[in-house]
């Protein structure tokens, strides 16, 4: 019989639901034991407070930061903060000069570095390079003789031209010491001028003018590098994709460098004035892609990729202060919100019981399962992507009670409709489910679409909202498919529900169906028969006798004319 397969399927689905829960709990438990996960969701800035970091621009004395630069910096910093998760940090300006970043929790130094470093990336050809020979040839930090020639005698034809190396520059290069504090401040040359700088390993470089800027990068991702035959090198790299302009420039540069020898074959990738890597050019690259390999870890590769993707800050920043900040909304707000939510839930339970009698317990159980799953997912996401609950997020979850409960209501009403059409409960459950599921998936698809689009495109609080919406929509679908429907299927086999006990909420008599014997009910009124045209009513129509059908048509027609308005249902007779 169909019922027994339905019952088997129901049990199987419930077992799978248990597996889903076990995996969720297990993952979090693992996270708590071996990582920094917690059993409670993390709270956002408004509820928990966090750290307020004030960043001041690094400016030459007397320089002013323009409003436009500051605006741009805020926007880029916000994207960088958001890239690490959905923690809903606040970024703003202060006094028309500083940038204030408020982050929930306590950010580590790495996070701060990622936020404040300018991330200005340049590609420059190498003119001279060598291991720093500090203090052997000249005094460290000695100022080059000002009498030396500072402008090239022959105008350089391209950025690789050694004519850039003037005697003054040569002297600066010779005396440059990578270990000195001077080296820390290096990398401040204008883009159309050569630059003397170092890399991490103490190799010093004299570089030509900037050939390609970070702004020409359209995308950056991090990953593990591969060799030319596809094998993994095991080291982290950052892959760059240039825009059209960048692609053209990169092709030109690599073509030119490929024809040169010695250090001039190399180009240097300079980040904030420091050389990250200076690879040799093995050919002309025309596909607009480049890879930066250096001494990256997984984190530093991702951090650099994020920085490059969102662009360089127009100005560098230093941390002026970093202080713990309390929640802007008191704990009373969260507490009374939760209490109110609980009272609201209690009212929902009472209402469900009145409306659906014993079936109301299915609603309650489903809501409990939905709550448990939402809680676990929010906790898991707090750990994995730093999702944090703000007060608006809590309110969103409370509204989600309504949307989740609606799925059950749609389902129950469909079952009742089938009962009204005279079907037995077990088949009503299955056919009602088919129609309900279609409605539920269609309406949830709309919500999920909203969540997905806003999550991808929006930033800040809106992104947090999109996340909550998507999460509750998924939970809704999972719970109604994996819990509510199997539970109702199983209950419909129990005598209490099957025989339509008065308190079951599925009493066909109360629903107006006419008892026809052998647990079969027939649609109650003639009006219903002539009314319905769906597939379900066709079946009901088949059961009618010819005389019944005729009577139905007549009564329907009479009612039609007796009504004054053509749009009136005309079934009041």
């Amino acid at each position: 019989m169909a019922q027994s397969t339905a019952v088997k399927k129901a049990w199987k689905t419930l077992v799978w639901l248990a597996v889903v829960f076990a995996v969720l709990v297990g993952t979090i438990a693992g996270g708590v034991l071996w990582s920094d996960a917690t059993w409670t969701p993390k709270l956002a800035l408004d509820l928990e407070g966090g750290t307020q970091v004030i960043l001041t621009p690094q400016l030459e004395s007397g320089d002013q930061v323009s409003g436009e630069q500051l605006e741009q910096a805020v926007s880029i910093i916000r994207q960088r903060v958001d890239a690490s998760g959905v923690s809903e940090a606040e970024v703003t300006t202060q006094g028309g000069r500083n940038v204030v970043v408020s982050i929930p929790g306590q950010p580590d130094q790495e996070t701060l570095d990622r936020i404040e470093s300018s991330a200005k990336l340049d590609f420059r050809p190498v003119l001279l390079a060598g291991v720093a020979s500090s203090a052997t040839t000249s005094t460290p930090g000695a100022t080059p003789d000002p009498a030396l020639e500072t402008t090239p005698t022959v105008s350089p034809t391209n950025a690789s031209d050694l004519a850039w190396v003037t005697p003054a520059l040569q002297a600066q290069y010779d005396s440059f010491d990578c270990a000195s504090t001077e080296a820390d401040d290096a990398g401040q040359a204008p883009t159309d001028q050569p630059l003397v700088t170092c890399d991490e390993n103490g190799v010093k470089y004299l570089l030509g003018p900037v050939e390609i800027e970070g702004a020409d990068i359209s995308d950056a991702t991090s990953g593990v590098g591969t060799t030319s035959n596809g094998a993994s090198t095991g080291s982290w790299v950052v892959d760059l994709t240039f825009n059209d302009e960048g692609t053209a420039k990169f092709a030109d540069v690599t073509t030119r460098l490929f024809g040169l020898t010695g250090v001039q074959n190399q180009f240097a990738i300079v980040l904030d004035g420091k050389v990250i890597t200076a690879p040799t050019t093995g050919g002309a690259f025309t596909d607009g892609r480049a890879q930066i390999s250096g001494s990256f870890t997984q984190e530093s590769a991702k951090a650099l990729a994020d920085q490059l993707k969102f662009g360089a800050l127009p100005i560098g920043f230093n941390t002026e202060s970093s202080e713990r900040i309390s929640a802007t909304l008191g704990s009373t707000q969260l507490l009374s919100g939760l209490i109110a939510g609980a009272i609201g839930l209690l009212l929902v339970i009472i209402y469900s019981l009145i409306q659906y009698r014993a079936l109301g317990t299915v609603t309650i159980a489903s809501l409990v399962v939905a709550f448990a799953m939402t809680y676990l997912l929010v906790t898991l996401m707090s750990w994995r992507i730093d999702f944090r609950l703000s007060l608006a997020g809590v309110a969103g979850l409370i509204v989600a009670i309504g949307i989740t409960a609606d799925s059950f209501i749609v389902y129950f009403e469909r079952i009742r409709d089938e009962l009204r059409d005279g079907k037995a409960l077990t088949s009503s459950v299955q056919s009602g489910w088919k129609r309900a599921l279609r409605t539920i998936t269609a309406s949830d698809a709309v919500n999920f679409l909203a969540a997905a689009v806003l999550y991808i495109l929006a930033i800040g609080n809106v992104r947090g909202f999109a996340f909550t919406l998507g999460l509750t929509t998924i939970v809704d679908i999972i719970v109604v498919i994996m819990f509510t429907h199997p539970l109702v299927t199983l209950l419909s086999e129990r005598p209490f529900f099957r025989d339509g006990h008065k308190l079951s909420g599925l009493d066909p008599r109360a629903l107006g169906a006419v008892y026809r014997g052998r647990a079969q009910f027939r649609a109650p009124s003639a009006a219903a028969k002539s009314d319905k045209k769906g597939s379900s009513s066709r079946e009901a129509a088949k059961r009618q006798t010819i005389a019944e059908r005729k009577a139905a048509e007549l009564s329907g027609a009479t009612a039609g004319t007796s009504s004054t308005k053509p749009t009136d249902e005309g079934k009041n007779s």
Partner: protein, 333 residues
């Protein structure tokens, strides 16, 4: 509540029927008036009140304080600038940060003085500066871009799913209807528009569309037989669908509104003016208006959009002719 289930039965069979479609002019009029009030009202009152998060404001930092009591700060600001917004947080171990609406130099000096007195510190320990918006133009820009793309996608989705763009059009018009009225409530009551309120607004956007899709799906089901010779005109089919889902609409909106209403009531009584109150008010009104508009705006609009179609005209004419004939038959019998 047995009568409620009888009510459901009668609605299902059509024994009892509320004429949502036929009286659409009345519903349109009601909605038009509501929208007019929602648009004009805020301007009469003086426009929307955007929070510090949108406009920026003044910030005072009181350092070297001996107590971190946040009420001292709110009271001090209240004395000088009654009725304004104040956001107080503590900074580190011995400082208090106070954010207010943007103040001019004179007001700022007065607040600075008041804060110094309240916390018993020299005026020099209270620094003043302007802060920018935390909800910058970039967030708004990105959010609007996302919304526009979403609305285009959702319209395409509905047009494909329901196989008619007219349902998508009716659903989107009723969505705009809901958003205008909800926004109007904020404007008329002078509630501050905070990021939390905007999130509440977006929640309503989701709820309103969701509710419309559920009812439209029933309409789709009931009108599938369109073209077959039946006893109902197109408008009657849609009206029956709305009636048949009416119990669901009532139950769902009650279930959705109950928790929100309890937050609103408890939030207002216990906390007074608070983020929680603002957001739950927006949500409650949105839920009510969202449910209302599906039944009274979206469904009638859909009928109106399709009534002119040749297929539907033909169907309706056939149904009415049948009825005419049958009634004559009854009269002569």
């Amino acid at each position: 509540m047995a009568s409620f289930s009888d009510f459901g039965n009668d609605l299902y069979t059509g024994k009892r029927s509320i004429d949502f479609i036929g009286r659409r002019k009345l519903w349109y009029l009601i909605s038009a008036i509501l929208i007019l009030i929602a648009i004009v009202g805020p301007f009469v009152r003086g426009g929307f009140e955007f929070g510090i998060e949108f406009r920026g404001g003044s910030e005072f930092t009181v350092s070297q304080v001996s107590t971190l009591d946040q009420n001292l700060a709110s009271d001090a600001v209240e004395e000088v600038e009654a009725g304004g917004t104040v956001r107080v947080s503590t900074l580190g171990q011995d400082a208090v940060r106070v954010q207010t609406d943007e103040l001019d130099d004179e007001q700022a000096a007065a607040v600075q003085e008041a804060l110094a007195t309240a916390y018993d510190v020299p005026t020099s320990d209270v620094t003043v500066s302007f802060i920018g918006a935390t909800w910058g133009a970039d967030i708004t820009g990105q959010a609007i871009r996302g919304l526009v793309i979403f609305l285009v996608l959702v319209a395409i989705f509905m047009a494909i799913y329901f196989r008619t763009w007219k349902m998508a059009a009716a659903a989107l018009i009723s969505l705009v209807h809901d958003l205008i009225i909800t926004a109007g409530v904020f404007g008329i009551t002078g509630l501050e528009i905070t990021p939390a309120a905007v999130i509440g607004f977006l929640t309503i956007l989701g709820y309103s569309l969701y509710d419309t899709v559920v009812v439209f799906d029933k309409i789709r089901e009931n009108t599938e037989a369109l073209g077959e010779r039946g006893t109902q005109t197109f408008g009657e089919m849609v009206n029956l669908a709305v009636n048949q889902t009416l119990v669901r609409s009532i139950n769902t909106s009650v279930v959705a509104a109950l928790p929100v209403a309890s937050i609103l009531i408890i939030g207002s009584f216990v906390l007074g003016a608070s983020t929680l109150r603002d957001i739950s008010l927006a949500l409650l009104i949105g839920i009510i208006v969202g449910t209302y508009s599906t039944i009274f705006v979206a469904a009638p609009l859909y009928v109106q959009f399709r009534q002119g179609e040749a297929k539907i005209k033909k169907h309706d004419a056939a149904v009415l002719t049948d009825r005419e004939r049958a009634s004559k038959a009854t009269v002569t019998a």
